[in-house]
């Protein structure tokens, strides 16, 4: 399980999360809903080990997280992958799409061009698109590359923070299907953060609303 317990986050004097707990179970999709400004994205970043909370604990399959961001131990850091709403903020603009997808494998000393090509193809990227840089592709194409990259180290948990909000309906359906196929074959747990109730109703096994819990089984 990926678990946040009694997590509190403050920005300056503003309390963004106040003693919030959330569990993401392996093999299941947990939907996280709530209005804008409710702290959903902050909680997503805490669970992806990208933001250290002021109080509370995060555990990944029982291992407590003590260091965050780049300083988190590699094994924990790669156990959780994060996808953002805006792919342009999540990539190095100098790299080609292939290099973006290949980056985590290369950094782990496991460069594997065949696997990179297979991940790219699954995300719907082929041919010369893969040789382009971020400014030469659309948001949808770039997000496809980010999804392929997120799956490359076979994370045990995927945190999808408004992953498809900027995208058209067809690209959204495709990327959710790619994440679902991965979840089914790997047993990974997924946290789907979205303000779109129709999307969560379709995608999540159960939904949690931040600031008032709601245990909707679907």
């Amino acid at each position: 399980m990926l678990e946040a317990r009694d997590v509190t986050v403050r920005y300056g004097r503003q309390v963004v999360l106040d003693g919030v707990s959330l569990t993401v179970e392996p093999g299941r999709v947990t939907g996280l809903a709530g209005p804008s400004g409710c702290g959903k994205s902050t909680l997503a970043r805490v669970l992806a080990l990208m933001l250290r909370p002021a109080a509370g604990t995060v555990t990944v399959d029982g291992a407590a997280v003590r260091r965050w961001r780049q300083r988190a131990p590699r094994g924990l850091r790669t156990a959780v992958a994060l996808l953002y709403q805006q792919p342009r903020l999540a990539v190095d603009p100098r790299l080609t799409l292939t290099e973006i997808i290949a980056e985590p494998l290369a950094a782990a000393g496991r460069a594997d061009p065949g696997r990179v090509a297979a991940l790219a193809a699954e995300a719907g990227l082929t041919g010369d698109l893969l040789g382009r840089r971020p400014h030469e592709v659309s948001d949808g194409q770039l997000q496809r590359a980010c999804v392929a990259r997120a799956l490359s180290l076979e994370p045990r948990y995927l945190v999808c923070d408004e992953m498809t909000t900027m995208l058209d309906a067809s690209t959204q359906a495709h990327l959710v299907a790619v994440v679902e196929a991965y979840r089914e074959r790997s047993g990974a747990g997924v946290l789907a953060v979205s303000h779109d109730d129709a999307l969560l109703a379709r995608w999540a096994h159960h939904r949690v609303r931040l600031g008032g819990f709601e245990g909707l089984e679907s």
């Binding site: 804008s36 659309s138 948001d139 058209d168 309906a169």
Partner: protein, 364 residues
Amino acid sequence: MSTSVSPGEDLPPGGPLTAGSPGAAGPSPGGDPSADGPVPDGDSPVDGPAAAGGNRLRVEGLTVSFRLPGATVRAVTDVSFEVRPGRCLALVGESGCGKSVLAHALLGLLPGNAEVAGRARLEHADGPLELLGAPEAVLARRVRGRAVGLIPQSPATHLTPVRTARAQLEEALRELGRARPRERADELALRQGLHPADLDRYPHELSGGMAQRVANAMALAGDPWLILADEPTGGLDRPLVDRAMAALRGLCDEGRAILLITHDLRAAERVADDLAVMYAGRLVETGPAGRVLDRPRHPYAAGLVNARPDRAFVPIPGMPPELTRLPDDCAFAPRCPSADGACTAPPPLADGVACHHPLEDDRA
């Protein structure tokens, strides 16, 4: 600047811009833009008087391309539509389909390497005005902010961060020559559901919803009859999207014309009277919004609707073609379940659908 945007007549005949691929222009409603002869700024009405029908924007055969070293991006091809007061037309399509380029072309905001053909006639009280190729001074003095108000993408970042919303709104009003800018700014704020005191905030102090309202107030400063909203819901959550759409609907109901550009079918559904679906730079289906969303006839439109999470949630296979390498046949053919031998000829937009095998009502 404006010199880079030239009417189609200046383009070399037979170039990549002559209304798309060979044979495409003939039967389409826009027709071949080069057949209509030059359209100087503010020419005499040739298509019937504007006064009788009141204001409208008539776009015919609009085609935009960009020349890059070694390639031509055909961003918009032979697009025709009309927008009238009291109606909202939503132009929907995925990112990169050319819809934002189209909006920029109408406002003369394209980069220098753009080549533009076709016509976009603004017919209103000042007399008709051809927007494409109009001098920058004319666009700045008579069009942007006056006849046409722009609601931009991500309103928060559109505002200057170091000045209050009020300073920016009052400056816009002064530039438009409006008297009593302070009172007028308060009025505009109130009409958008803002407290006048909210205007004294800096952009970073505005919530997403407030920034959206400020953007609407700015767009309305010159009392335009046409509102052009280019992906106005980026970054807003669903309740704010719904509110923004309700605000647009209100503007429409008070007699303004709305051209909404969006990738969001649900946003379009909430506000649009008419829908135009764009694929690979062309309009592939147009019609009443309810009908197009319930019973799409073009296979691409049907695929988009079917991909919605509250419908089948099934993606359209494949990806759109590169705008640098548009095929001569139907651009949707590689992804289309109904494609056959007939589809090698590009389908004209006829009767609201550009397809050789449009879906029947009972199939969609």
